[in-house]
């Protein structure tokens, strides 16, 4: 109908500005319609470079289409719609507006044809996701937002150094597969990985996301890490180092989620875990693996948003975030509970949910490549996902014990958003070809073979058994777990304080010493000067001074 006219990201930015300026009654309509228009625009982008511009003297490619880019932009637009639907009656307008620009940044990165465009939208995401964190409105949200911004702006800076280095070395700003052989490509690699919550600084994610508002968390769960996955697919496909980084993220996520008490922090750790699966797949780098990474990003965004919605609904209704104080909510929030369970089953890759059809591509890719260690670790991790997110989250929030909380069901818009996303999880699970048709490479993969289903059920159900057998060991404690963020939240300030105190002590000693010496020196002149300069001074002294002055003259004539 319409041809491609403007970058989809600009539509979303324009909508976000309209939301900010419109009168309150119009805001929900604009906020809900804009992502849908954007989604339509995403599908009008044909393959290849569509729009170029000149920016600071560089030719930049604002929009470049491909199947992979459209896939990511599609899910980002769907996510923006779902998030707005979940939030529009509860969020302040500035939270909605910021979240929409944040989504626009993600869509902009998806279609970025060159590294400069990618960088600009990358920074747009960093800025406006920080605003979304701040919309949590508490003192801890403010502090977490600043830490989040510092990490992401530093990451952006590293990325920028890399991009500049690449331009100087090659003269090209094209987004193409890079190898890790130059300093510049390492910088790009690190800059991108920081947004993926890769080690050693995965901690920013679980630090910032749980401090957002119940609605903000839904937006935050989706964009930053997944644009990073897209950038890795475009820039570093088949980079073997990514396999190990991904596996580390997978197990980091599981272990820290097992230790955690805050329900949205459990979900945050499980984002790191799930992104780890995608990063590992990118490291494997075969067509099946890259398809798997893209497909998993798509289904992950939907079920993770669903999980954050159900946690957000609970938080919104109860104001309680700790698992140790929750429990038994299935009585009065049955719909939220069911949607949460569907999300939890999908993240665990239960057959007939979206996670199953995407994640099994990744482990199969490892199997076909005969990467035995990787495959066994991925299988163990799949069991671990069911353990830390699939059962732990719904069990501790909705069942466990009767906490005495009897909150009413979530508001209608939250419920509608949850039902839509839960339905999406199941529909993708039942009709995987809907997703497979969007993937970058032709798919020759059948997820629903009898042996796949049986082996997955065995794996997951016995992981579930392990959960209930080990339940006494999982008793929630009112604790947090130290992470790398301890370094910059405690160790460095403490060290800085120590150094500061040591220096100020040294300063005191030095100042006292200097003053003492100065006093003595001046006094000795004031009171003792007769010894050297007065007429009563001995002849020898005068001769000595004369010699000194003459020597000075001599030196001066030699030098000057």
């Amino acid at each position: 109908m319409f041809e491609f006219v403007m970058p989809p990201a600009f539509i979303l930015i324009f909508g976000a500005l309209l939301v900010a300026l419109a009168r309150p009654t119009l805001r929900p309509i604009i906020a809900l319609l804009t992502p849908l228009v954007t989604l339509y625009a995403v599908w009008q982008v044909p393959d290849g470079v569509q729009m170029t511009a000149t920016f600071l003297g560089y030719q930049i490619e604002l929009v470049e289409g491909s199947a992979l880019r459209r896939l990511f932009a599609t899910v980002f637009a769907i996510m923006a719609f779902g998030g707005v639907l979940f939030a529009f009656r509860q969020s302040k307008w500035y939270e909605l507006s910021a979240a929409m620009i944040y989504a626009a940044g993600a869509i902009g990165v998806s279609f970025a044809g060159d590294l400069i465009t990618l960088f600009i939208f990358w920074e747009l995401m960093a800025l406006f996701s920080t605003v979304v964190v701040w919309c949590g409105g508490t003192e801890s949200a403010r502090a977490a937002g600043i830490r989040y911004a510092i990490i992401h702006l530093t990451g952006g800076l590293i990325l920028k150094i890399g991009i500049e280095g690449l331009y100087v070395a090659t003269g090209s700003l094209e987004i193409q597969a890079l190898t890790l052989e130059s300093f510049a490509s390492w910088m790009v690699f690190i800059g991108v990985l920081i947004n993926a919550a890769a080690p050693p600084i995965s901690a920013w994610l679980a630090d910032a996301y749980p401090e957002s508002s119940p609605m903000g968390g839904v937006f935050l769960s989706a964009f930053t890490t997944k644009t990073s996955v897209l950038a890795l697919i475009l820039l570093f496909p088949g980079q073997p180092l990514l396999i190990w980084i991904g596996l580390f993220m997978i197990f980091y996520g599981i272990i820290f989620a097992l230790l955690e008490n805050d329900m949205r922090r459990i979900l945050s750790y499980s984002i790191v875990n799930q992104v780890g699966f995608m990063v590992t797949a990118i490291g494997i780098g075969t067509e099946l693996a890259l398809n798997g990474a893209a497909a998993h990003a798509f289904s992950h965004i939907i079920y993770k948003a669903l999980l954050f919605m159900s946690a957000g609904a609970v938080l919104y209704q109860t104001g309680v975030r700790k698992c140790s104080e929750l429990g038994g909510l299935f009585r009065t929030m049955p719909l939220t509970c069911i949607c949460g369970i569907i999300g939890a089953l999908a993240i665990s890759a239960f057959p007939f949910t979206s996670g199953f059809v995407s994640k099994s591509m990744i482990s199969s890719a490892a199997g076909y490549e005969h990467l035995s260690t990787v495959w066994f670790l991925l299988i163990a991790a799949s069991a671990g996902v069911f353990l830390h997110a699939g059962i732990k989250f719904p069990w501790f929030v909705f069942f466990q014990k009767d906490s005495g909380l009897r909150p009413p069901e979530a508001p209608w818009n939250m419920r509608v958003a949850m039902v839509l996303f839960a339905a999406a999880c199941i529909v993708i699970g039942l009709f995987p070809n809907m997703l497979y048709n969007l993937l970058p490479y032709p798919v020759d993969y059948e997820p629903y073979t009898a042996d796949h289903v049986v082996s997955q059920l065995q794996l997951l159900l016995f992981a579930g058994l392990a959960f209930f057998v080990l339940l006494p060991l999982m008793k929630r404690t009112e604790t947090l777990s130290l992470d790398v963020d301890w370094l910059y939240r405690r160790a460095i300030p403490a060290l800085a304080g120590k150094i500061d105190r040591a220096l100020s002590a040294a300063n005191t000693v030095f100042a006292r010493g200097l003053a003492g010496f100065g006093n003595w020196f001046i006094n000795s002149f004031k009171q003792g000067s007769y010894r050297y300069f007065s007429s009563r001074a001995p002849m020898g002294h005068t001769a000595l001074w004369m010699a000194a002055v003459l020597a000075l003259f001599l030196v001066m004539t030699l030098v000057i």
């Binding site: 353990l387 009767d402 060991l473 130290l482």
Partner: protein, 118 residues
């Protein structure tokens, strides 16, 4: 819920739940039943391997019950590892709420307090 002459209405039932009546899902009878059902389902998934040949990428993963055993054991391992790590890493959840010992500007305004473990 006790059996009365009249079936309680849906509203009454929900009110009772709000008041703390025990939900059918948490009654010991139901929980026992659930354990039995899950036991049977667990057994079935393993027994199903008699009819369904699981394609093996390597060798061990073709063994009967491999996924069950591997899944269970790796979960136990992960839980125990997390537990052990918890000994080292866990702190009270107000750990970061306590003010940071920062520059002298903070220290000078603070009353002297006994130096403890940070």
């Amino acid at each position: 819920m006790t059996q009365t002459d009249q079936q309680p209405s849906n509203q009454q039932r929900q009110q009772a739940i709000r008041d703390g009546a025990s939900h059918w899902l948490v009654q010991p009878k139901t929980i026992r039943l659930l354990w039995w059902i899950s036991g049977v389902v667990l057994a079935l998934t393993v027994i199903a391997q008699i009819w369904i040949h699981i394609h093996a990428y390597f060798t061990v993963d073709g063994w009967p019950g491999f996924y069950a055993g591997f899944g269970f054991l790796s979960c136990v391992a992960m839980v125990l590892f997390a537990k052990a790590l918890g000994w080292v890493l866990k702190r009270p959840d107000n750990y970061y709420d306590r003010p940071t010992k920062l520059a002298p500007s903070v220290l000078e305004n603070e009353p002297k307090e006994p130096r403890g473990h940070v």
